[in-house]
């Protein structure tokens, strides 16, 4: 992916992702990011940024928290079944949205994708990772798998106060 992309998320939803990571610590949390891709951001809904508004981007407008299915190794693995994916897609569709990505936590590890993350990743989706250190959520990052599947590209996150979500 040549250009760095940007994921927009409200402060409220970003806080929910962090809280989910703290809640399941020392296990990994996981969930779906519901939103819109490639449409103009509804500027009026957000607190006004200092700079100019970006081009059409990806925007998270809802979450679909899921249960980590990896009972055998929940501290360093998460798994979302095909049935969970279908449920998340239905939930998104019911709100006029689509599943634009997935979030998970890295308990006591940095918010960087692992080799295991890369081996199991799909292209296009945004993969949000929140680091949870000693039970306290820390850095949150977002990543997208490159077309060649060899690396993730960093995706910027714009966390802003949004009136409705």
């Amino acid at each position: 992916m040549a250009d760095e992309t940007t994921l927009w998320i409200s402060d409220h939803l970003a806080e929910k992702v962090r809280a989910h990571g703290a809640e399941t610590y020392p296990h990994e949390c996981c969930g779906a990011l519901l939103g819109r891709d490639g449409e103009a951001i509804d500027a009026a809904a957000y607190e006004k940024p200092a700079g100019s508004w970006p081009k059409p981007a990806r925007e998270v407008l809802g979450l679909f928290p899921l249960i980590n299915r990896r009972d055998d190794s929940p501290r360093n693995r998460f798994s979302v079944t095909a049935e969970d994916v279908r449920d998340a897609e239905k939930a998104a569709s019911a709100q006029g949205l689509e599943v634009v990505g997935w979030y998970h936590s890295h308990p006591d590890h940095p918010a960087r994708p692992s080799q295991y993350d890369r081996d199991h990743a799909w292209p296009w989706y945004s993969y949000v990772i929140v680091s949870v250190q000693h039970g306290a959520p820390q850095e949150m990052t977002s990543w997208r798998l490159n077309d060649d599947r060899l690396e993730f590209s960093h995706e910027g996150i714009e966390i802003r106060h949004r009136a409705a979500v």
Partner: protein, 93 residues
């Protein structure tokens, strides 16, 4: 009437932005071969280098998981719908 293959959102950029494609195919494997021949960029996202379906790629024929049928040898008939459904996995080390 051929079989219809539903393409999941994350793979549509590699399939000319299409959400489905139709092929004449007697098995699931044949349909997937047609799909990845027509859209060669899809191949590495669906199959490993040695040609096996990736573990997080789930294939259904009319809502039946092919792992519980005959995998890629599962027969198809005209009018069947093949769905490719992601499963998602990861972890911190």
């Amino acid at each position: 009437m051929p079989v219809k293959v539903m393409i999941p959102t994350p793979l549509r950029p590699y399939a000319g932005k299409r959400d489905s494609a139709e092929f004449k195919a007697a098995t699931v494997g044949e349909a997937l071969t047609h799909l990845t021949t027509q859209f060669s960029d899809l191949r590495k996202h669906l199959f490993t280098e040695d040609g096996k379906l990736r573990s997080f790629v789930n294939v259904y024929v009319n809502d039946e998981d092919i792992r519980y049928l005959a995998s890629e040898n599962t027969p198809t008939k005209d009018g069947d719908t093949i769905s490719i459904i992601p499963s998602i996995a990861g972890g911190c080390n």
